[in-house]
């Protein structure tokens, strides 16, 4: 899961997060907590467009990302910065793609590059775009939560297609204060299913799980040994 470090030592925290994700996020509205409200939009933007393109591409090995479509984040949402030809889409997501109960849900420093394969691009990017649209419209966490729930209830947003997955292997990825750069990993999306479907989240399993809420989506995460540039990732 992209907001948890996929490390064995963090497994219990992952389980806790999954449990908490089932709740609505009212408690996260504590105004005294950091990142409890949206920062000025400029803090979420990257001034250097080319830097954002490079960061997006760094989510996957160059052999994949060089032919991918690239989207960059602007004041009015995401826009295409480079056309691709292999069906992959690379993008730098912002903090509001984190679980709603994540204390760093609105941390403007988060930079989450991922390269989605074609089924992932078709079925997961609409979720990214919709959430971003709501965040930019100034909705609160609770309002975004409710809007996303309604969008899935009304089938306005698609469920993951078979084979939907992404690479998240950028050494420059930043998940916030708690998890830093985390690990390079792959993520696979399914319509909501049990953790046990892939044997996730049990001792010794290389598969971790994030149950989205309110989105009826299950995300399985597999840590890999190298960053996209071929260098070794830290030992688990």
């Amino acid at each position: 899961m992209r907001w948890e470090i996929v490390r064995t030592t963090a497994l219990q925290a992952v389980v806790l997060v999954v449990m908490l994700s089932a709740a609505r996020p009212e408690q996260a509205q504590d105004a005294k907590a950091p990142y409890s409200s949206m920062a000025p939009i400029e803090q979420y933007l990257m001034a250097d467009r080319n830097a954002e393109i490079a960061l997006a591409r760094s989510a996957a090995p160059e052999s994949i990302s060089r032919d991918a479509e690239i989207w960059v984040f602007g004041k009015h949402g995401y826009e295409i910065a480079a056309k691709g030809k292999n069906g992959f889409v690379c993008i730098v997501e912002r903090s509001w793609m984190a679980p709603f109960d994540d204390p760093e849900f609105l941390n403007p420093d988060q930079r989450l590059p991922l390269c989605l394969n074609p089924p992932g691009a078709r079925s997961h990017l609409p979720l990214t775009f919709k959430t971003t649209e709501l965040a930019l419209a100034g909705l609160s966490r609770t309002q975004i939560f409710d809007s996303m729930k309604a969008a899935f209830d009304k089938k306005i947003l698609p469920l993951p297609e078979p084979g939907a997955m992404c690479h998240m292997m950028s050494k420059q990825q930043y998940f916030g204060r708690k998890y830093g750069n985390a690990d390079p990993h792959l993520m696979f999306w399914f319509p909501k299913t049990d953790d046990t479907f892939w044997g996730a989240g049990v001792p010794g399993s290389p598969v971790y799980v994030h149950q989205y809420s309110p989105q009826p989506i299950t995300e399985f995460i597999i840590s890999v040994s190298k960053w996209s540039d071929g260098t070794a990732a830290p030992t688990e």
């Binding site: 090995p61 069906g87 892939w198 001792p203």
Partner: protein
């Protein structure tokens, strides 16, 4: 099942294998080499049933395999040695679950091969039947060409189940014996079964990609692709070699 040593510098040969697999039907013949034909059945069996159960379970972390069904290979095919409760099924596959032709096919009759694998519930329902089917025909003394014909017919008649979404398996046993070379095992890995597709959809076999396409089935004849992702540890928790 990973029957090949699939190192980064061999990825290009994988693409070639996939191409070759699509054309094998016209000329499939038993491979020449050290294992040109089936060895006596006893060589494929494990005399110690408990050892086979333990080996099968070693494919996945104990938290998964302890509650799995466990199969063992007998003279008449696989039989359930242990009933499980979590829907996973662990078994030790033999060499004939590798590709019929192309890269790795010279291992097809290797009686030393032991491929422990634990299938998740969708794979147990939709991939494991292929193991049963191939094994049944092998034990009946069928040739590669005959097996291929039977499998093709079985798919055409829908006698084999369609692949279920999310089918995957664990292959993380340090004691796997997949090749006569080196230390006999490959890397700890997971396998993901999909309908036939371009491996590029997962970014497979491209430089530095952590995803590889296994030529185990690849439409020759089973209409299934098998993607592999190495894991960082063996099932016993020890660090696995890094690719």
């Amino acid at each position: 099942m990973a029957r090949e040593i699939v190192r980064t510098n061999a990825l290009r040969s994988f693409a070639l294998v996939v191409v070759l697999c699509a054309a094998w039907q016209a000329y499939a013949q038993d491979a020449k080499g050290p294992y040109p034909s089936m060895a006596p059945l006893e060589q494929y069996l494990m005399a110690d049933r408990d050892a086979e159960i333990a080996l099968a379970r070693s494919a996945a972390p104990e938290a998964i395999s302890r509650d799995a069904d466990v199969l063992v290979l007998g003279r008449h095919g696989y039989e359930t040695a242990v009933k499980g409760t979590n829907g996973f099924v662990c078994a030790v596959e033999r060499a004939w679950m590798g590709p019929f032709d192309g890269d790795g096919a010279d291992n097809f009759w290797n009686p030393k091969v032991r491929g422990p694998v634990c299938f998740n519930p969708p794979a147990a329902r939709s991939v494991l039947p292929l193991t049963y089917k191939r094994t049944e025909m092998i034990l009946a003394g069928k040739s590669k060409a005959q097996i291929i014909d039977v499998l093709k017919a079985a798919y055409e008649k829908k006698e084999l189940p369609p692949l279920e979404p999310g089918a995957m398996s664990y292959m993380m046993s340090k004691d796997q014996y997949l090749t006569d070379n080196g230390d006999h095992h490959w890397v700890a890995h997971l396998m993901f079964y999909t309908p036939l597709m371009d491996g590029a959809v997962w970014g497979a076999d491209l430089p530095r990609s952590p995803v590889m396409l296994n030529p185990q089935f690849s439409g020759a004849p089973e209409p299934i692709d098998v993607f592999m992702v190495p894991t960082r540890r063996w099932s016993d928790g020890t660090a696995a070699s890094v690719m």
